[in-house]
C-alpha cells in the first residue's frame, strides 16, 4: 500500500492550535452576525446595540475590571465541563455544583463568628469546594459503578440542588426578607478590589488608587480562577493522572488494557470538576453577594459549557472563553439599557455552541484535503 508520510511535528502542532483558534473566532463572529437578526426584532439598531455591548465590556477601566469579575464564575464552570470532557464525561451539573458550593460557603461564612480572617476565608472556600466536589463526585461514582448516564444524573442533581439550597435552605436560614442566607462575617469575605486603597497591606502599593471606583466589583476569586485553570492544565498534561484521564477519554477499553481503571478517572475528574464549580459558587457568595442569594447562579453552569467549547476544552482556552463570555454578559447589561433584552446574549452563546460544534467537521475536511493533495 502506497503511503504518504503525514509528517507530524511541532509545526503541525501549532497549525492545529491555530485551526482551533480560528474555528472559535469564526464561530463568535458568525454568532454575532446572526445576533443582528434578533436585535432587529426589537426595533433597535444593531449598531447601537453592539456599541453598547462593546462599551459595557471594555469602555472604561472599571468596565474592564467588571468584565474580569463576570468572567470568574464562567472560567470555573467552563473548567468544570472541560476537565470531565477530556475524560469522556459530559458534566452538565456545574449549575448544581455551583449552588451547593455557594450555599456551603455562604453558611460557613456566617456560622463561625470568631475565627480570624486567614483561617475563616480559606476554610469557607474549602468547604464550598468540597460541597461542589461531592455533588460532582456522586454522578461520577454512579457512572463508574453502574454506567448511569451522567448527562441525566447531573441535570437531575441540578434540580435537586435548587430544591435543597434555594427552596429549602434559604427559607430555613434567612433572617430578613431578602431571599438569601444571613450576611457573612467580614473574616470570610474575599478581598474586593475596590477595597484595596483602604486596605492596611495592599493599600500601600503604589498603584492602589486606581481601584477607588465603588462600581468595581472584581474580587480575588478571579485570581483563584486563573490559578485553578493553570493547576488543571498541569494535571491534565504533565502528570500521570492526567495521562490516564485523557486515555480514558479517548478509549476507555485501551486504557483498561493499559492497567488504568476507567472508573477511577471518571470519579476523579467529576470530583475535581465539581470542586471548581463549587469554587465558583463560593466566590459569588464570599466575594460578590456576601451571602448565598437566590438567583446567584444566573445560568453560569450552562454558559460554562459554551465557554469550555469555545476554549476547545483546554484549560487555558477556557480562560479566554470565560473572558469572552464575561465580556458578553457585562456588555449585555448595557445593551439592556439600550433597549435590547439581555437574553440576546444567551441566544448568541447558544449560537456559538452550534457553530463550534458544526465547524469541527471543517477541521476534518481540511485534514482530508491536505492528505489527498499529498497523495497526488
Amino acid at each position: 500500500m502506497l503511503e504518504v508520510k503525514i509528517v507530524e511535528n511541532r509545526w503541525d502542532h501549532i497549525k492545529s492550535m491555530m485551526t482551533n483558534f480560528g474555528i472559535s473566532l469564526l464561530s463568535i463572529v458568525v454568532a454575532l452576525i446572526f445576533g443582528i437578526f434578533f436585535i432587529l426584532l426589537t426595533d433597535q439598531s444593531p449598531v447601537t446595540a453592539y456599541q453598547a455591548l462593546y462599551h459595557g465590556a471594555f469602555g472604561s477601566f472599571s468596565n474592564i475590571l467588571n468584565t474580569l469579575w463576570r468572567s470568574t464564575p464562567l472560567i470555573l464552570t467552563g473548567l468544570a465541563f472541560a476537565l470531565p470532557f477530556r475524560a469522556g464525561l459530559i458534566n452538565i451539573g456545574a449549575e448544581g455544583q455551583l449552588l451547593m458550593g455557594g450555599f456551603a460557603a455562604g453558611v460557613a461564612g456566617y456560622v463561625f463568628t470568631s475565627l480570624p480572617g486567614f483561617i475563616h476565608l480559606p476554610l469557607a472556600i474549602l468547604i464550598g469546594m468540597l460541597a461542589g466536589a461531592l455533588w460532582g463526585g456522586l454522578p461520577g461514582l454512579l457512572k463508574a459503578k453502574f454506567g448511569s448516564n451522567e448527562v441525566i444524573t447531573t441535570i437531575m442533581l441540578n434540580h435537586i440542588a435548587i430544591a435543597l439550597t434555594i427552596n429549602y435552605g434559604i427559607n430555613k436560614l434567612r433572617t430578613s426578607s431578602r431571599m438569601a442566607t444571613p450576611e457573612i462575617e467580614p473574616s470570610a469575605a474575599l478581598l474586593r478590589f475596590k477595597e484595596i486603597p483602604k486596605h492596611p497591606i495592599w493599600g500601600k502599593l503604589p498603584f492602589a488608587d486606581i481601584f477607588t471606583n465603588p462600581g468595581i466589583r472584581l474580587h480575588m476569586n478571579f485570581v483563584l480562577a486563573i490559578i485553578a485553570a493553570i493547576i488543571l492544565w498541569y494535571i491534565l498534561f504533565k502528570t500521570t493522572l492526567g495521562y490516564e484521564m485523557r486515555a480514558v477519554g479517548f478509549n476507555s477499553d485501551g486504557a483498561e488494557y493499559g492497567g488504568i481503571k476507567p472508573g477511577k478517572s471518571m470519579f476523579i475528574t467529576m470530583f475535581l470538576g465539581g470542586a471548581v464549580a463549587g469554587l465558583a459558587g463560593a466566590g459569588e457568595a464570599l466575594g460578590t453577594h456576601l451571602s448565598f442569594m437566590s438567583g446567584m447562579d444566573a445560568g453560569y453552569g450552562f454558559t460554562g459549557i459554551a465557554v469550555a467549547l469555545i476554549g476547545q476544552t483546554h484549560p487555558i482556552g477556557v480562560i479566554f472563553g470565560g473572558l469572552l463570555f464575561g465580556a458578553l454578559n457585562q456588555g449585555g447589561l448595557e445593551m439592556q439599557f439600550a433597549g435590547v433584552p439581555s437574553e440576546i446574549v444567551n441566544i448568541i452563546q447558544a449560537l456559538v455552541i452550534f457553530f463550534v460544534a458544526s465547524l469541527q467537521i471543517l477541521k476534518m475536511y481540511l485534514r482530508k484535503r491536505k492528505e489527498k493533495e499529498g497523495v497526488e
Binding site: 500500500m1 502506497l2 503511503e3 504518504v4 508520510k5 503525514i6 509528517v7 507530524e8 511535528n9 511541532r10 503541525d12 502542532h13 504533565k238 502528570t239 500521570t240 493522572l241 492526567g242 495521562y243 490516564e244 485523557r246 486515555a247 479517548f250 478509549n251 477499553d253 485501551g254 486504557a255 483498561e256 488494557y257 493499559g258 492497567g259 488504568i260 481503571k261 485534514r367 482530508k368 492528505e371 489527498k372 499529498g374 497523495v375 497526488e376
Partner: protein, 515 residues
Amino acid sequence: MSREENYILEMNNITKLFPGVKANDNVNFSVKKGEIHALVGENGAGKTTLMKVLYGLYDKDNGEIFYNGEKVNLKGPQDAIDLGIGMVHQHFMLVDPLTVTENIVLGNEPRSGIILNQKKAKDKVKEISEKYGLYVDPEAEIRDISVGMQQRAEIIKTLYRGAELLIFDEPTAVLTPQEIDELFEIFKSLKEQGKTIVFITHKLQEVKAISDRITVLRNGKSVDTVDTEDVTEEDVAELMVGRQVLLEVEKTKANPGKKIFEVNNLKVSDNRDIPAVRGVSLTVRKGEILGIAGVEGNGQTELVEALTGIRKIESGKVKVRDKDITKFDAREIKRESVAHIPEDRQKRGLIMDFNLQENVILGYHDLEPFSRNGIMKYNNIADYTQKLIDEFDIRGGGMEAKAKNLSGGNQQKLIVAREFSQDPEFLIASQPTRGVDVGSIEFIHKQIIERRDNGAGVLLLSADLSEVLSLSDRIAVIFEGEIVDVLDASETDERELGKLMTGSTIDAGGEDSGK
C-alpha cells in the same frame, strides 16, 4: 478493450484514493460468466476496496465498469443490487436484534403500503433456502445463531434480491476447515445454477481448491490474472508479494525450562453472564510457545481478558512463577513481567488519538523513566520512542504522529515494540498478525521466536491454523470454552486440528486418523 459476450464484469483502470493512500491504482479486473474467480493479495492490497467500488459503497476516482457488456455508473448499493450484484461482506452486515427474515428482506420488504407482510417474507426465505440448500431458521435472532448460519443468511440476502454475481469477502476467515468444505459445496451448487462467484482471500490453499481463475493485486495495482490449473501456491505467493516468500517459519527446536505460567480449572463468563471459559487448565514453560487453536468465539477472548486482569474470574487459579495472580488487576499483572499483545489493536492495544510517544508507554506510564512521583518525563519518553521506532522500523510519520494514521502493520509493530521492549518473562499474543502485511508478519514471527529463544514463555492464540502450526511447540485446541486436547506441534496437522476445533475427537466416518 474486448467486450466479449462471456464476460459478466469488466472493471477497467479503476483508481480509488483515500487520505494518504492510493488503495486502487489503475486496476483491471474481469470476470467470466459462471466462473469462480479468486481475487487475492496480501492485507492492504486493495481487494476489498475494489469490490466496495463495484458494490457502490465507494465512489471511484477514475475508470470504467461494464456489466454484461454495458457501461454502468454505480452510485450506491441499490444500483449494484438492481443490476444483480450481491455482496457477502467479511464482517457480516447483519442487525443483531432482528430476525433472519427481517435482515434478509430489509429495504425490500414485502408489504402493503407500509405494513409488513411477515408471512410472505418468511415464505420467500424458506423458498430460497430450500432451492439452494442453505439451511436457516427464519425466526431466529441473529445474535443467537451460529456463524455458519449467519453466513448462509447473508447469502440468502443476495439471492433474495436476484443476485447473479456474488462477491464474497474473506468468507472463510471465521470458519473451520470442515465448514469451509461446506461453503465450497455451496459455491459449486451456486455455479451449477448459473451464478458467478468472486471471492476475496489471502489463503492460498483455498484458491487452489475451488477457483477457476485467479487475479492478483499488489500494493493497489493489478499484477496478473491466471488460470488456476496453471499455477502453484508458491507462484501465487510470489505474485502477491513480489519476491520469493518463505511460507514456513524457520525455527529451531525448543528448549523448555521451568513452569512459568499455570492456569487451573479457570471459569470465566462473557458479557451476557453465560459461561465462556468452562474449566480451562494450561501450563506454559520458559522457552516454549504454547499455541491455542480454535475458531473465534469459543472462549479465547474471555480467556485472555481474564488472564490479563480485564475480566473477572469466576473460579479457578492463575499463577505466574508460582505466585497466585488470580485476584490481580491489569496493572499488577503487567508488573509481574506479563506482556500482552491484544487481539483488537484498535480497541485495546492503542489509544488511536494519542501519538506514538503516548502509546509507547501505555501500561508502563507510571514507571521510571517515563514518570516519577506522578509527573511525566516527556524527554525520556521521546528518547525511548525514537529508539523503538528505529529498532522496530515503525513507519508512519515520526513520534508525534497519531496512532490512527499508521497502517495496520505499523500499528501492530508499535504494540509489539512496546511489549517486547519491556523484556517480559511471559507473553500472551492474541491474533498477533491479523490484518498485517506479509513483511510485518515475517518480522513479528521472528520476534516471537526470538523471545522464546531468550527464555520467555509464550501463549499464542490465533485463528490462523498455519500460523499456530508453524510457531507453536505445543498446541492446545479450545472448543466451547474447554481444552479438548493438547498435542505436540510436530505430530499434528491442519486436518486433525480442524476436526478437534469443531469438537470431534474421532473421525465421523471412522476413516483414517488424519495423520
